[in-house]
Symmetry: C2
Subunit: 160 residues, 2 copies
């Protein structure tokens, strides 16, 4: 009978976690959709392009293609295509890595930095408005907890 109780508790717990996951996914998609619309409307760009430029903006010396895909949590081939298109427009450039001819650094061009600066300022204001419901303290607490969760995920043995 205590096992029955345990089973019920466990099932309830897993249901709670599942609901949390579905909420997380729903909120994230909703916000992504809003940002996508605004980026297209106001800056004639896309979310993946913004993400790439944002990552490169945080790393002024540039990032290797593989580091870029790692940061963005997308595949290698994916960033190849996005960087190709940004490079065609002169917003990003590929720079060879001294000492390793296999590798390539991607980095913002001066024009890319200018263009991104305008996008980023608005982006921050959009986020600010979308999360208006949440004060700074709560947002920070939330972020800290999510960071712990992320670390737990990284640490996890991927045996399953």
């Amino acid at each position: 009978m205590s096992e029955q109780v345990e089973l019920n508790r466990s099932t309830e717990e897993s249901k709670a976690r599942l609901r949390l996951w579905l909420r997380l996914l729903g909120v994230t998609r909703k916000i992504e959709n809003e940002l996508r619309d605004k980026l297209r409307r106001d800056h004639n760009t896309t979310l993946p392009r913004f993400d790439v430029m944002s990552a490169l903006n945080r790393h002024r010396d540039g990032l290797r293609m593989s580091e870029l895909s790692g940061v963005l949590k997308v595949s290698n081939g994916n960033v190849t295509g996005i960087v190709d298109r940004l490079a065609e427009e002169g917003l990003v450039e590929r720079v060879p890595v001294p000492g390793d001819r296999r590798a390539m650094m991607a980095r913002l061009t001066p024009r890319g930095q200018d263009v991104f600066a305008g996008q980023a300022a608005e982006h921050e204001a959009w986020i600010d408005a979308l999360f208006a419901d949440m004060g700074a303290d709560e947002a920070q607490g939330f972020a800290v907890r999510l960071k712990e969760l992320a670390e737990a995920l990284e640490t996890r043995e991927d045996k399953e």
Copy 2:
């Protein structure tokens, strides 16, 4: 000077919200990638296919194509393609809506229900493991707060 203080406070607040958003996005992508791998490895399917079947499973009478895209927060054209592929495999079927010849209901076939049941059981266990860091109470509190945020987002005037 008090305006300077206000500006600083406001900027700090918006930075905290931005960090929260980046964490939310990062955790969501990480988990999506894990689920994608597992679905492919163990069930030879994809995340969008699972999402469609999951939505249809929660609505046994079926959903109109437009309801389906609304629930999943993706475009109409997108679900058309995914339902096409699921229908080819006999997992989903399209049913005309009596009284409105423009509309179509998508619903799981009996085989689709069987196949999905197997996927869903494992999916719940995966989520349970991924969120092992978080107890049921915390997960529920988190979910409640996200729901409030989602409602605030829905209510927001989209004037910007």
